[in-house]
Symmetry: none
DNA sequence: AAAACGGTTTAATTTCATTTTAATCGGTCC
DNA sequence: GGACCGATTAAAATGAAATTAAACCGTTTT
């Protein structure tokens, strides 16, 4: 939850915790972004008018990184244009203040029931074919064989997996895995893709990372 | 859509049809139930106070039959208890009348994007006849057969598809696909149209790209 | 404090696909 | 026939990606 009005934030945090949800709270967009980048969440509750980075931008950042995460906008702005902008930024719901806590609760439940839960409930595991990534233990394996990755390699592979079957451009990767906005002259990404390929493809039968010249890279299972 | 106020029903039906949604309308709950039992829908829009079977019951009926179908409650009842009952009956969203049609639209889109994990209206797949272009995976296929395209070929085809049935001049193409403003002496466009024709027409039964001498090119389905 | 180390980034080189140019061919309209 | 317009082809130019080595940087070890 990203909410700068501490009183509201505290009330919601308390209410949600009582309902056995685990909640992290940030009071500004920059901290919210950092929390999001460092953790794996199911759902985000975002105020729009918050310091440093507004809710729309934050929603867009979240969406560009992961389509699955649910986003609820929570704001005093009730105009239709604001709602539209919220949904266009990727929100799943938009609630206007003041609101009843019970309503927030049922709306959260309605969204969560649509969330595709990963197999092996509770444990954070991502899979593509025979490639398995454990987000808790940070272990990666293929055909059961363990593959040690460095931090950056792991982040890059995680980004690929979360966007499997989708061509991601170098700019997408630069923004989401590194924190560079625009830097034509670096080739870190190419180098790291090369590192990854050596580790997750070289001693195995099938390819995983394909390059689309002039477009970017895709991680996919076959052909 | 189940809505007994015919004026509202008609307005919404028209608006949604314009957005290329296919809509069936019932004016009471009993007919609504019969329609659901006989068809396969993606989403239901339900008024609550409707004759013969109210919206809550109908929502429960739909839910008991199919968890996947998305349900939006559309009603004048704005009390939190009503909303809670709506969500408990299985609704995915609850909109209070009067509301802005645009808001309904973005809420529908927000829900549909969660469905099937894949496309709905306003999504990332473009089609013309049996030609399918996936903007995420950057894959293009005809008759189910995959057709690899280079970046420029892909951009050019995308431009044609987005302007289907419209004659686009070489200048239009030059400005939108290449970034050249005016350059009489290059024939890149002709060459690329030729590349495209070889890939997307040569081994298939019907033409797609037609030349309008002195005007430009059109992409269209038949004749 | 210096050295060693693992990880990350930069830079330079090689390789190769894509893009563009340019020349030729074929048909159509005066 | 000649001029015009587009289609087609091959060759040349360009630029993107892979690969390698070396520099850099922060942390830990000596």
């Amino acid at each position: 939850m990203v909410e700068d009005e501490k009183k509201i934030a505290e009330t919601l945090r308390k209410g949600l915790t009582e309902q056995h949800y685990e909640v992290d709270v940030a009071y500004d967009g920059a901290i919210g972004k950092k929390l999001f980048d460092a953790n794996t969440y199911d759902l985000a509750i975002l105020d729009i008018n918050i310091p440093l980075m507004n809710g729309y931008e934050l929603a867009r950042h979240i969406r560009s990184y992961n389509e699955e995460i649910l986003v609820i906008m929570l704001t005093a702005m009730s105009a239709t244009e604001d709602k539209i902008e919220g949904f266009e930024a990727g929100a799943d719901d938009y609630i206007v203040k003041p609101f009843d806590f019970q309503e927030l609760l049922v709306r959260i439940r309605a969204l969560l029931k649509r969330l595709h839960h990963q197999p092996a409930a509770g444990s954070n595991i991502l899979k593509v074919g025979d490639l398995v990534m454990n987000l808790d233990s940070k272990e990666v394996s293929r055909e059961g064989r363990n593959i040690p990755l460095t931090a950056k390699e792991f982040q890059l592979l995680e980004y690929f997996i979360r966007n499997k079957n989708k061509v991601v451009s170098r700019i997408d990767i630069a923004m989401n895995v590194w924190d560079i906005d625009f830097d034509t002259k670096t080739n870190v990404i190419d180098v790291y893709v090369n590192f990854l390929r050596k580790k997750i493809e070289k001693d195995f039968s099938s390819k995983l990372i394909y390059t689309q010249v002039g477009m970017g890279y895709v991680l996919k299972e076959n052909s």
